[in-house]
């Protein structure tokens, strides 16, 4: 049961967004521009994978399943393959650039000051641009917010992971602007 009375039965962040539309608007706008805006050299799948990995590190069940399912949808892989990336991205079939960016994401999850000049050099050598490094840091930081928001108010989350997989195609179509109404 959530720590506060939300007056709705929506799971995870959607229940919070319906409860407080004033903060829903900028939160959804942020997710939309970070994860779904196509004016970006990182694919939607790559950005969702960063969000998934940080949510996994923060142990947020709802967020890692929502975004893991979206990453799987965009990247054409199943939930087991996404799980394998979360558990050990170094051994996964990912580009060196994505591995370098996930390493930066893991440092941000601990604390911004953990990101080292060596990690940035590594990402640049693998072909990452400044904007891609910027967006990786901000996506990781943003999920340190979203995860804390969802868990800090003890929202409920469907335990059947297929629920998230089934919803991903529609979410990919609708984007992040309309959560409250669905």
């Amino acid at each position: 049961m959530a720590h506060i009375e939300l007056n709705n039965e929506l799971p995870g962040i959607r229940g919070l967004m319906a409860y407080r539309p004033e903060t829903e608007a900028p939160l959804n706008a942020l997710a939309e521009v970070l994860l779904r805006d196509d004016n970006n050299t990182l694919t939607r799948g790559e950005r969702e994978l960063i969000a998934t990995y940080v949510s996994y590190l923060n142990d947020c069940f709802f967020c890692q399943n929502v975004h893991g399912s979206l990453a799987g949808h965009y990247l054409g892989c199943n939930i087991e393959q996404i799980d394998a990336v979360k558990e050990d991205f170094h051994s996964a079939e990912l580009s060196d650039k994505m591995k370098a960016l996930l390493s930066i994401a893991a440092s941000v999850q601990k604390d911004g000051k953990q990101v080292s000049a060596e990690q940035i050099d590594e990402a640049r050598k693998a072909g990452a641009t400044d904007v891609e490094i910027h967006d990786t840091v901000l996506i990781s930081a943003a999920f340190c917010m979203f995860n804390r928001y969802v868990d800090g108010l003890a929202t409920w989350a469907p335990q059947d992971r297929q629920f998230y997989v089934n919803r991903a195609p529609q979410r990919a179509l609708d984007g992040y602007q309309s959560s409250v109404f669905r």
Partner: protein, 195 residues
């Protein structure tokens, strides 16, 4: 030196906002809604104190200094209260409700699951409303983002306190949505200001 090439003179998150306007818009809209817009019960000063306290727990110098300065200006230019909250919220001259909310904020900073039913019950017993509890959790969570963003890209975080005071005064008055005023180093400020 920042990890990426930021070609403007502004410190902390302001430099990042100018670097990437497309993400600045929702980030600024969020902080404006959380900290500056009218709230049913929490004053802007109280909300800024929550942001300042979480930024201190995350050891983010820029965010702690700028929100401390904004809090000071929102609280009738009272710098003392900001320092007392940072030193120990329990003994600071703030309401018991705010003390209970700051306890929740500290739990959120460590991880969302650390917030217990007892923490929430204590806040309710001190008179906190559901909206206040919600907003405290989201402010604390949001500063776990802003702090990581500012530190994660190794932005310029000035030592000169007068810079934070100028910026804090502007934000307390105007909110977050106006362009940043040109910042003046202390020496220049002393020459140009007559008291």
């Amino acid at each position: 030196m920042p990890h990426i090439k930021i070609e403007n003179e502004f410190p902390g998150i302001r430099g990042l906002f100018l670097y990437r306007p497309v993400t600045a818009a929702p980030l600024n809209a969020l902080v404006q809604t959380l900290l500056h817009n009218p709230h049913p019960t929490l004053s802007a000063g109280e909300r800024e104190l929550i942001a300042t306290y979480v930024s201190r727990l995350n050891t983010c110098k820029y965010c702690c200094n700028i929100h401390g300065a904004i809090a000071q200006h929102q609280l009738g230019n009272n710098a003392e209260i900001v320092q007392q909250v940072l030193a120990n919220p329990e003994t600071a001259p703030i309401s018991n409700t705010l003390k209970a909310l700051l306890k929740i904020a500290a739990k959120v900073q460590q991880g969302g699951k650390n917030v217990t039913a007892e923490d929430v019950a204590l806040a309710r017993a001190e008179g906190a409303t559901d909206i206040e509890i919600h907003d405290t959790v989201l402010i604390a969570a949001a500063f776990c983002m802003y702090n990581r963003y500012v530190d994660g890209l190794a932005t310029w975080q000035p030592d000169d306190e007068s810079i934070y005071d100028q910026m804090g005064e502007q934000r307390a008055r105007e909110g977050y949505l106006t362009p940043p005023a040109k910042i003046k180093p202390k020496e220049e400020l002393n020459h140009s200001t007559k008291f």
